[in-house]
């Protein structure tokens, strides 16, 4: 009976994990496979992708054609339930930046958290990304190097299943050659991008996404991931056999009922539960880490959202994977006479150096792609090809007005028509209606391409969270107050994105839907909008300048760890989820080693 309640939990547990997403899921997987008894606490409800995913539902079956609403911020069929920019009963406070912009905080209160909804884009940080300050003098270095994490990138790619090419470019590494699945065949629009982007100096590679382009190799991978552990191998092989390869249909943002893409609920939790070593309590809103008298954590307090009762769960080790800002909130709310500034906060840095990704987008219309014959271009349900950052040398030589790069996520094709497909077509049609509109729709359908820049952010002192002195959530838990201010570097980078995308659209023989934005304030996404927030409990080389050490272990409390993006001292342009999983696995191995040595 792996799903338990506060009254049926089967302690004693070795480890409590708060959160069930990428970090919590990976930690639960690694530890339970090695026989550690784990209790996972998830704030939201149980969620079962096999039964709940709207796989082939067409938009006409949904309210409002599946459009975006305040209840479902990414459309009706998005996998996220009980989540979004607003969560019922769980407010937060934002201090507007000097331009009136506001940080917005995406949450998903559900089993698997935000892994149920994401682009599945799985890029490795490169060597520069771990030592950015050493390279250009800005921000913070990680206390680890690429080689420390590379073996864990290999493992995570094999476990979750990531497609991609094996090309290695500057600061854009690939594994040893057998960790990735084959990339999907490019679409017509992908071919055009691959042909034309080099004209403006941009090289295009196969995308990397956590989607199974073929069945996982359940015969060889389990032994590579769990050498010497026959039981774990057997469980993983069975779990891999239960996942089907991609059906080449439906959008991955809906989730996947056949397990062809990565969701914690599909990949991490089923084998962890199958070990019998993992218990999960849902509706458990954790608000405090509790301490014994000797400076060690002994459990967490939470509110059972189904009863409203305050509960206490105990374990020898506590791992926070509640998401970067929620983890900081729990630590800051774990105040006591002995820890007046919150727990693990002797540095005063809990909540500091919150980072997001720089985002900026351009849509183009390409005459060459008009009126193509019928094509099934659903493909792998997301990014097929992308362009990694290409101007490292120019940046090092200070030839660009911003120090860090971005990659280009690209998309096009004849996708499932939805209410937005022919929205605002006047810029092309001059306002046609009648039979002419129907002709125009046929002509332009599938001729649009989109460029999304995703860029690195240098940490700055103006981006942080703290506990609001007044506002509490429905449970009575004090809420976060967000402070946010993009730096000049990020804004200039966003303008560079716009200009580059405009140039690529031109090289593709197309036109941009709206003029490229050259105002730095307007070119950039708002804080939090990319849903890549990391930092707040950053790792570092010493206890004065960071919250955790290189093992994601808090300096102040030896049996308290952080498994989510909170430990990132720097947010490279690479999407953070793969790195969160790799670091969580690395942290879990360290916990296992220390447990075996009886140090924890």
């Amino acid at each position: 009976m792996p799903f338990v309640t506060p009254s049926t939990q089967r302690g004693p547990y070795d480890v409590i994990i708060v959160g069930s997403g990428a970090g919590g899921g990976q930690t639960a997987y690694t530890l339970s496979m090695e026989g550690v008894r784990v209790l996972m606490l998830e704030a939201g409800r149980k969620y079962v992708p096999a039964h709940e995913t709207p796989m082939f539902q067409t938009p006409n079956l949904a309210p409002l054609g599946g459009s975006v609403t305040p209840d479902k911020n990414f459309g009706f069929y998005d996998a996220t339930v009980d989540g979004g920019w607003d969560v019922p009963g769980q407010p937060y406070v934002t201090v507007p930046d000097k331009w009136g912009g506001r940080f917005t905080w995406w949450r998903a209160r559900m089993l698997g958290g935000r892994t149920n909804h994401w682009g599945r884009i799985s890029l490795r940080n490169g060597p520069y990304d771990f030592k950015p300050k050493s390279r250009d003098g800005l921000g913070l270095d990680w206390p680890i190097i690429y080689d420390d994490v590379a073996p864990y990138y290999d493992k995570v790619e094999m476990l979750v299943g990531v497609y991609g090419g094996n090309e290695s470019l500057e600061n854009t590494p690939a594994g040893p050659g057998d960790t990735l699945l084959p990339p999907p065949t490019p679409l017509v629009s992908d071919h055009l991008f691959m042909q034309r982007a080099p004209r403006v100096g941009v090289a295009v590679l196969p995308g990397r996404r956590a989607v199974l382009t073929r069945a996982q190799d359940h015969r060889t991978v389990p032994a590579k991931l769990h050498p010497g552990n026959a039981h774990a191998q057997k469980i993983l092989a069975a779990a891999m056999r239960k996942r089907a390869p991609c059906l080449w249909a439906t959008d991955c943002g809906r989730g996947c009922s056949v397990g062809a893409n990565y969701q914690s609920t599909t990949v991490h939790l089923p084998p962890a539960l199958a070990t019998g070593n993992l218990d999960i309590i849902t509706h458990a809103m954790v608000y405090e880490v509790t301490m014994d008298g000797s400076g060690r954590a002994n459990g967490v307090r939470f509110i059972d959202a189904t009863t409203g009762r305050h509960e206490h769960a105990r374990a020898r080790i506590v791992v926070l994977g509640a998401s970067a800002c929620e983890t900081a909130r729990i630590l800051l709310n774990s105040k006591s006479g002995r820890y007046p500034n919150g727990l693990a906060n002797s540095s005063g840095l809990v909540g500091r150096y919150v980072l997001d990704t720089v985002g900026s987008s351009v849509v183009g219309q390409i005459p060459l792609l008009e009126s193509l014959p019928p094509l099934n271009e659903n493909a792998a349900g997301g990014l097929q090809v992308y362009a990694p950052w290409w101007l490292y040398k120019e940046q090092l030589a200070h030839q660009l007005p911003f120090p860090r790069g971005y990659h280009i996520e690209y998309g096009g094709g004849k996708q499932l028509p939805d209410p937005y497909t022919f929205y605002g077509l006047e810029w092309l049609t001059g306002g046609s209606y009648g039979k002419k509109l129907k002709e125009d729709a046929r002509r332009y359908y599938g001729s649009f391409v989109e460029f999304d820049g995703r860029g690195a952010m240098v940490p700055n002192d103006n981006c942080y969270v703290e506990i609001d002195p007044v506002v509490k959530d429905q449970f009575g838990i004090p809420v976060l107050r967000f402070h946010w201010q993009w730096g000049d570097y990020e804004q200039r980078q966003a303008v560079h994105m716009q200009e580059t995308f405009g140039a690529i659209v031109e090289a593709m023989g197309g036109r941009v839907q709206t003029p490229v934005v050259t105002d730095p304030v307007k070119a950039i996404s708002s804080g939090g909008q990319m849903i890549h927030e990391v930092g707040g409990t950053v790792m570092g080389a010493d206890a004065r300048s960071s919250v955790t050490n290189k093992w994601s272990q808090t300096w102040d409390v030896p049996n308290l760890f952080v498994a989510d993006g909170g430990v990132f001292p720097y947010n490279a342009d690479k999407n953070p989820t793969l790195t969160i999983m790799a670091l969580a696995w690395r942290m879990s191995d360290h916990i296992l080693e220390r447990m075996r040595r009886r140090e924890l």
Partner: protein, 221 residues
């Protein structure tokens, strides 16, 4: 974290700058209550009466009117059908908009409790009044009973806001909204997908990509 295909919808919706279907702002101003203490805003979830809430059943097929009561009376439905069919008439490829339920789609849309839809409701209902007024002024009949040529004479003046005279900007905005809604309601149906020769959303054993002959013709190989 945002899925690319979701982003494209939001961007295209946001960039065109016309009200209908515009992305419900990530930080809808109506969701914020200013905090009197300092220049700080509290992001609060405001319960949306009669909306489907944050955890709806995603599997079932929804009927129009099931989640919130509909608005249009028979006369308004006639007008809605006439205008929808002027925008998307039947042709050799597919039926007209009203024949595939677009009036019901629009009725559901303008009856919804969400801020964007409430705004579009005002635009559409005001537009209906203007359109019938214009029809009666010109021909002493409601719009739905005009000849197609008469209907087109009215709509030609408002079908492109960038060319519409200043005193017709609001009707032009209405027409843009209504065309967006008609196209949305039409192309999400099976008939609309067929018209576009959309052939996806079916499980495949493998994905072969485009035919080489096509790539050659386009100069891409």
């Amino acid at each position: 974290m945002t899925d690319r295909r979701t982003t494209i919808k939001l961007i295209m919706a946001a960039a065109a700058g016309v009200p209908a279907l515009r992305r419900a702002s990530a930080t809808d101003p109506t969701e914020f209550q200013p905090d009197p203490r300092v220049a700080v805003d509290v992001q609060r979830y405001v319960p949306r009466m009669n909306g489907y809430g944050p955890d709806p059943n995603l599997i079932k097929a929804y009927e129009k009117g099931e989640l919130w009561p509909l608005t249009l009376d028979p006369q308004q439905r006639q007008l809605a059908a006439a205008l929808s069919d002027l925008i998307i008439p039947a042709d050799e490829h597919s039926p007209s908009a009203s024949a595939v339920g677009v009036v019901d789609f629009i009725d559901e849309w303008i009856s919804a409790p969400y801020p964007q839809q409430r705004q579009d409701r005002e635009t559409v209902l005001d537009g209906f009044i203007w359109l019938d007024g214009e029809a009666r002024h010109r021909a002493r009949r409601p719009f739905a009973r005009l000849l197609e040529a008469q209907q087109r004479a009215i709509c030609d003046r408002i079908c492109d806001a960038s060319r519409a005279p200043a005193d017709l900007q609001r009707p032009a905005q209405f027409f843009a909204t209504y065309r967006n809604l008609t196209a949305a309601g039409f192309y999400i149906t099976a008939a609309g997908r067929k018209d576009l020769q959309y052939v996806g959303n079916v499980p495949l054993k493998q994905f072969d990509g485009p035919p080489v002959e096509l790539l050659k013709r386009l100069g891409l190989v």
